[in-house]
């Protein structure tokens, strides 16, 4: 049986850490454009269940953790209903707000926080994420959403 992986949607600013992580994953993924005027991924690109990978931009109090474009993206209920999980990225050096965007999206959208990683991720992060997405794909198949 060929494995059906959940689709991936991600956001990455020009510093490119999340983009490099997704590139190394080697899986098809849709990028949410950084520019506030740019169109968001449309429904033809989002026909299946997907996992969102999102970096964190919080200040010391945790404000601004989720990028505005990601908020806009998730504010559409028809997109949100296909979201099956979130992966947060960040930097532990930001202490308690490390990978906060993943936790916020998980709570707001009622989906599991699957994983978190730092900056562009390590080889271990890549391997764990790939294996985890396969497992999640199997699970989604068997429960056929």
């Amino acid at each position: 049986m060929s494995r059906q992986l959940p689709a991936l949607v991600y956001y990455s600013s020009k510093s490119g850490n999340t983009h490099r992580f997704v590139t190394r994953l080697g899986l098809p993924a849709v990028r949410i454009a950084e520019c506030l005027d740019a169109p968001l991924p449309d429904h033809s690109q989002l026909t299946d269940a997907f996992v969102l990978i999102c970096p964190t931009y919080a200040d010391g109090q945790g404000r601004g953790a989720v990028p505005k474009q990601v908020i806009r993206f998730l504010n559409d209920a028809s997109r949100r209903e296909r979201l099956v999980g979130v992966i947060g990225a960040g930097n532990r050096n930001f202490g308690a707000t490390y990978a906060l965007s993943g936790r916020i999206i998980s709570e707001k959208c009622n989906v599991p926080l699957l994983y978190s990683f730092e900056l562009a991720g390590t080889e271990t992060d890549i391997a764990r994420t790939r294996a985890g997405l396969e497992k999640l794909g199997d699970h989604l198949c068997s429960t056929a959403i």
């Binding site: 953790a65 202490g95 308690a96 959208c109 926080l113 730092e118 900056l119 080889e123 294996a131």
Partner: protein
């Protein structure tokens, strides 16, 4: 030729016309995160300080003078050296903030000293930092790169290595004490410094990437070789520095893993791949927890995390995302 400054018309900075949105984003982040050492109740650490052995005290003071030296360099030479290379006026303004915060960091170690140590201990440690060959070697390696006339992108490489790598042989110790419930207020102050340095390394690394992507392939390769060469040189010095400081307390190997982990992160800030493989970069979980308290490692995938939590169902309205 850096010393022959091009004639530029003096122009007032207009924050309502941005060439690079990242400048405003980072300016906002840095200004919101502004702090002063007076806000941390360091004197609460006096009883804890008294439980350290004489050697542990000496080690801690020495580590902090080493950190003071790096902050002093970044304040008086490093960040100012990046200013003439700034592409946008807003970048220059951000660098003035970075320079000032480095002065706050350097100043805050003296607050720790005056709270916990005797004048004699403090003077001895500063003498030690003036004379320690490894500390002086790393300072020199960085200062040579900052020298006028040097390549602006090489300066950024050195700056990112200072911000994101060289501090960490020192930052390890307060995180270690904190993981053992010692000097926890001092650790709170150090975490504020770590948070600032993370933004600095990220921003300077980002500006490096903008310059790097303009270069042809040969020039990129030359610069990348330079970056990895400098990292090797600094890593060699850091190894010796670490051994000299931490051998007696038996923490050298643990600190070295922390060095590998941070070297990889410094390279990632520049947009490069990691240098050290995962098996030598897996940091002691107690140190990771001290770095980011209250944020567990979420690993639902491997089933090892305790934090697979589906949040309360919250209707997502525009106004809910109150950022």
């Amino acid at each position: 030729m850096k010393d022959i400054a091009p004639t530029r018309i003096p122009r007032a900075i207009n924050w309502n016309r941005l060439e690079d949105e990242k400048d405003l984003e980072v300016w906002n982040r840095l200004t919101v995160n502004f702090w002063l050492p007076e806000k941390v109740p360091l004197s609460n650490d006096i009883p804890s300080w008294a439980t350290l052995t004489d050697h542990e005290k000496q080690l801690t003071i020495r580590v902090f003078t080493g950190l003071t030296l790096l902050d002093t360099i970044q304040n008086s030479v490093g960040a100012p050296a990046l200013m003439p290379d700034a592409i946008t006026p807003h970048e220059e303004a951000v660098l003035t903030n970075i320079a000032f915060m480095e002065a706050v960091h350097a100043r805050s170690y003296s607050s720790i000293f005056s709270t916990l140590c005797s004048t004699k201990e403090i003077d001895e440690a500063f003498r030690w930092s003036d004379e320690n060959p490894h500390l002086q070697a790393k300072a020199k390696a960085i200062l040579d790169t900052y020298a006028p006339g040097n390549d602006p992108l090489k300066r950024k490489i050195a700056s990112v290595f200072l911000e994101s790598f060289l501090f960490y042989s020192g930052f390890y110790l307060p995180m270690y004490w904190s993981s053992r419930a010692k000097l926890t207020n001092t650790a709170d102050l150090i975490r504020l410094i770590i948070r600032d340095e993370a933004v600095h390394g990220y921003y300077i690394g980002y500006k490096f990437q903008r310059g790097y992507e303009q270069l042809d392939e040969a020039a990129q390769q030359e610069l990348k070789d330079y970056a990895f060469g400098l990292m090797f040189e600094l890593y060699g010095i850091e190894n010796q520095y670490t051994e000299e400081l931490y051998d007696e307390i038996g923490l050298t190997e643990d600190v070295k893993v922390f060095l590998h982990y941070n070297a990889n992160k410094a390279l990632q800030n520049l947009g490069f791949e990691a240098l050290f493989p995962p098996e030598v970069s897996e940091v002691n979980p107690a140190i990771l927890a001290a770095l980011s308290p209250d944020s567990e490692n979420h690993d639902f995938f491997s089933g090892s995390g305790s934090s697979y939590v589906i949040g309360k169902a919250v209707a997502t309205e525009d106004e809910d995302w109150d950022f």
